[in-house]
Symmetry: C2
Subunit: 438 residues, 2 copies
Amino acid sequence: MRLSRYFLPTLKETPSEAEIVSHRLMLRAGMIRQHTSGIYSWLPLGLRVLRAIEQIVREEQDRAGAQEILMPTVQSAELWRESGRYDDYGKEMLRIVDRHERDMLYGPTHEEVVTDIFRKNIQSYRDLPKNLYQIHWKFRDEVRPRFGVMRGREFLMKDGYSFDLDPLAARRAYYRMFVAYLRTFHRLGLKAIPMAADTGPIGGSLSHEFIILAETGESAVFCHKDLLDKTPPQNVDYDGDLEPIFKEWTSLYAATDEKHGPDHGVPEGDLVSARGIEVGHIFNFGTKYSVPMGATVTTQDGSSVPVHMGSYGIGVSRLVGGIIEASHDDAGIIWPDSVAPFQVALVNLKAGDAQTDAACADLETRLAAAGLSVLIDDTDERPGAKFATQDLIGLPWQLIVGPKGLARGVVELKRRATGERHEVTVESALAHLTGTGA
Amino acid sequence: MRLSRYFLPTLKETPSEAEIVSHRLMLRAGMIRQHTSGIYSWLPLGLRVLRAIEQIVREEQDRAGAQEILMPTVQSAELWRESGRYDDYGKEMLRIVDRHERDMLYGPTHEEVVTDIFRKNIQSYRDLPKNLYQIHWKFRDEVRPRFGVMRGREFLMKDGYSFDLDPLAARRAYYRMFVAYLRTFHRLGLKAIPMAADTGPIGGSLSHEFIILAETGESAVFCHKDLLDKTPPQNVDYDGDLEPIFKEWTSLYAATDEKHGPDHGVPEGDLVSARGIEVGHIFNFGTKYSVPMGATVTTQDGSSVPVHMGSYGIGVSRLVGGIIEASHDDAGIIWPDSVAPFQVALVNLKAGDAQTDAACADLETRLAAAGLSVLIDDTDERPGAKFATQDLIGLPWQLIVGPKGLARGVVELKRRATGERHEVTVESALAHLTGTGA
């Protein structure tokens, strides 16, 4: 993509309405624009990051045996009356009346809809287990939306729902998602800590929040220092016993501010106090929805039992902000490689100069052939302005090409995360970026 | 994917609520389920098709220089008051009042939102042309939703918007989308005919509908027979002059029922009467929104002019039904290769038989390694039931593996579209499917 054509309205000034760094940087980097309070449009650069995160979430869900579906955003109120949550939900639920005066709502969550799908289509224990998820837009009418996409009203979420024959199988389904979540956040370049949580309006007995650590995080969290060094397993057999992994991660102390107390039992010096952002929440709530909604299966002996369920959420649009909170500096965003909107910024220091243009065109072709996504700065801005824009939007690599360097056979390769810059030959830069050596 | 685990609730009976064949087949093939009137959930098989279509639409938009963004589904009524369309739109617009008593709506289209983005972020002729598109859910509160996803209330659409300095540049933008649409529908395996259209509530002077031909189409259409043989250009230079392609396609007679009249001027014998389904609609409407909303740019000489716009829609979820209308037989759906939910059905005729299972596992591995998506029927259904299910869901290829054939070193390869079946060796089947010969 050529920057001269790209819709990337960056801002030099810090927008006054943004209270936190991720919101400021997303506005400045031309990733989003506010439509109205708590509702945003995603511009090309922001959407690429959103899609990259979405794809990693999807791959890890699929790997764990979940199957993707897509439920409507606009739901009938009827199902919520059946589950008993219609009146409970309060003003956060965006209520709608359609032209035929039927009560509808913009789904803040989908337990009712998915339970309805289940009960109408699955009748036998032989069809279990099932885990159905979607990645879709939801609406919660927050009183005071703020922090950009971190607490918006319309937001993108991965919500999944598991269905099992009995509590033991449901617990195994819960472990699968627990491990899939560890892997997901790790791939996103985040340090995520699972913490025992209250179940709130979703209900149930077993629940964990996944909190990512960021210096500018919204809340204080506490955990045993050994949790910071843990990484999730590289290869997981999701048909095998995952309880050991679950125990390994939950046996060490971790608690949010509300739950943290003096009886934490962690030796002095081992307790870490940090700041965090909730990006995922998983629940095992048994038969809370299947009983009132009549979602049953026949067992091997012919009897009928309510199905045991869990639900599993990841705040996909929130993660865009969360990753920035965890990875930025004074100059701008520092994208982890896995979610970067482009992998390489190819900075042409003298657009219009025939030799420099040709060198950039050649580099672009060869980088693209190696499967790398490239944003070429072919504008006529001054070098200083180009560098500032690139540091702001935070692509992992900057490949800087100018006539003086070319005369000496070199280009400059800069790693955004460390700021390290090296003058290297064109071939060496290509080899480094395409992973064929350096 | 193993069918024994897949959420594919096929139906033997024809659902009584479905009036048209695509609706019946989508329900029977377990692709969708109705949530409430005109609102559907997409089950795994249906979602795979929807995503495949979406991806082809996206690739052709990107190729034509359009840039993807994502605007909110819930919009503020304010902008619609500015454009003057808030009261015009009537009951088809789903109106919402939020907790702070602000008037909102679920977007039926996005001219206002995108014009607002434009006017706040683009000020100079140097930033033109721009074409911004999204693939997103919309809502139109139809009085009588019907025909499944063909006329739903919540539906997925590609809507794009072009911005140009003057009428001539806007016309070039229109041509780019005209050609991109020809290519898109061709890649989807459809015969699509552009027809001059009224502009309706969108407004403007130049407009075409894209109608795909299907025997069971919703309306009668008429065209010169030569249009049926035309295919869009394989390689398009979108920076070049596309008027010749536009003229080539629009110089031959084509009209919908409402516009068809006796003065069509087509020689007898050259006029084809067919049935069609509208799947795309493009508009050039000049300054209809930019003037009332103040979307202006400064020109090279420093003056300020309203930007010239067009909008371009493709009914993505509607296309799922449209493709089925155009491609099915009595036994079920016949997916074009480009949008098939899986490319190959690997039918294990004797699941549980060690040798057959091993042969299937080997085939699966090798097909997957070649980049093909495979649905394995590893259930213990009878062969007849398995064949019926496969013909119903309509994957392009069926690879049928049983102990008797294996004893003779052969498997059966069936092409769904033609019904042709051949006994071939395993190696020959693999070579054929992976395109390495046969």
